[in-house]
């Protein structure tokens, strides 16, 4: 695991974080629930808590879907390629490429669409950035930079847990090891468009 340069993290007085969704995206509750599940992966292993708020502009973490150029100097590029990006603590911005074919439930690995992307998998990765983790070379880690289409990868690996806990400590209810999931990363194709 690794951190951003300077090892930024959320200070001790900001460990109960709020997250909000760009109103213009008009996301359904089902889509919002995907992010709730993604945040829970990290709150389960740290003392951090995450609460949804309706006031987007005062939220600690601001989640928004954009297409192409959206004003932060890192334009999105359409279907596949770059899927999303997130800023280091305590910036809190989390952007996803609105052009992707996001799947919010069901088994994405059986999708008929070769460019189907599992929203929760990408959300868990980007939340790692929001909390201060950089990319990892450990391939089964959530913080590994790439994910093929039609692939689901939502369980934190030990590399992820070690990294985040060295920033924030552990959750008292955490039993101390990564969830071993045989279905962690199943892919049926290699992201062929």
């Amino acid at each position: 695991y690794a951190f951003f340069p300077g090892r930024p993290f959320w200070p001790a007085n900001r460990r109960d974080l709020t997250y909000g969704f760009l109103p213009a995206n008009e996301l359904s509750d089902e889509v919002k629930a995907v992010f709730t599940r993604a945040f829970e992966k990290w709150s389960a292993v740290t003392p951090l808590t995450f609460t949804q708020t309706d006031s987007f502009f005062s939220a600690d973490i601001k989640i928004a879907f954009y297409s192409g150029d959206h004003g932060d100097g890192e334009p999105f590029d359409g279907v596949l390629g770059t899927l999303a990006h997130a800023f280091s603590p305590t910036n809190g911005r989390f952007h996803l490429d609105a052009a992707e074919n996001w799947v919010v439930s069901g088994d994405v690995t059986t999708s008929s669409l070769s460019s189907a992307v599992d929203l929760e998998s990408v959300a868990v990765h980007e939340i790692g950035h929001l909390l201060g983790l950089g990319h990892s070379s450990v391939e089964d880690a959530i913080m590994f930079p790439t994910i093929s289409s039609r692939t689901r990868k939502v369980e934190l690996a030990n590399d992820d847990i070690d990294g985040i806990q060295s920033l924030y400590g552990s959750n008292p209810n955490f039993n101390g090891s990564a969830t071993t999931s045989t279905t962690q990363e199943r892919e049926t194709s290699d992201g062929e468009a």
């Binding site: 999105f76 596949l80 770059t82 997130a86 999708s111 070379s137 468009a193």
Partner: protein
Amino acid sequence: RFFPNITAIPPWPLPNATSLAPWDAFKKFAGCQSGEKRDGLSKLKQYFNNFGYIPNSPTNFSDDFNDELEKALKIYQQNFNLNVTGQLDDQTLQQIVRPRCGNADIVNGTSSMNSGKSSSFHTTGHFRTTAH
């Protein structure tokens, strides 16, 4: 486009087979060797610049497979646990075109991955700093 579940994916308007993902064009560089000049290599260098492997250039990137590109490839291959050849082999290209997070692997000259953990890695030149 959100698909609530797999069965909800409509048969239309599936992208037709010819609509390529942004980086699929890089596959044509398979077997490209150091010292060659290939149309479009500048876009691959831009890719590596976006993810921190090649520093910003005051001028546009060229289509030459130069030392800078070879070095970037070696660091990339190290980061992604590939054979460190410095060449555009199939294994490397397959990884390059894979969908990914837009955050850089190398930020302000510091690699957060494998190559940042070996002392041999250091970068020169000016890096664009972003708020990530």
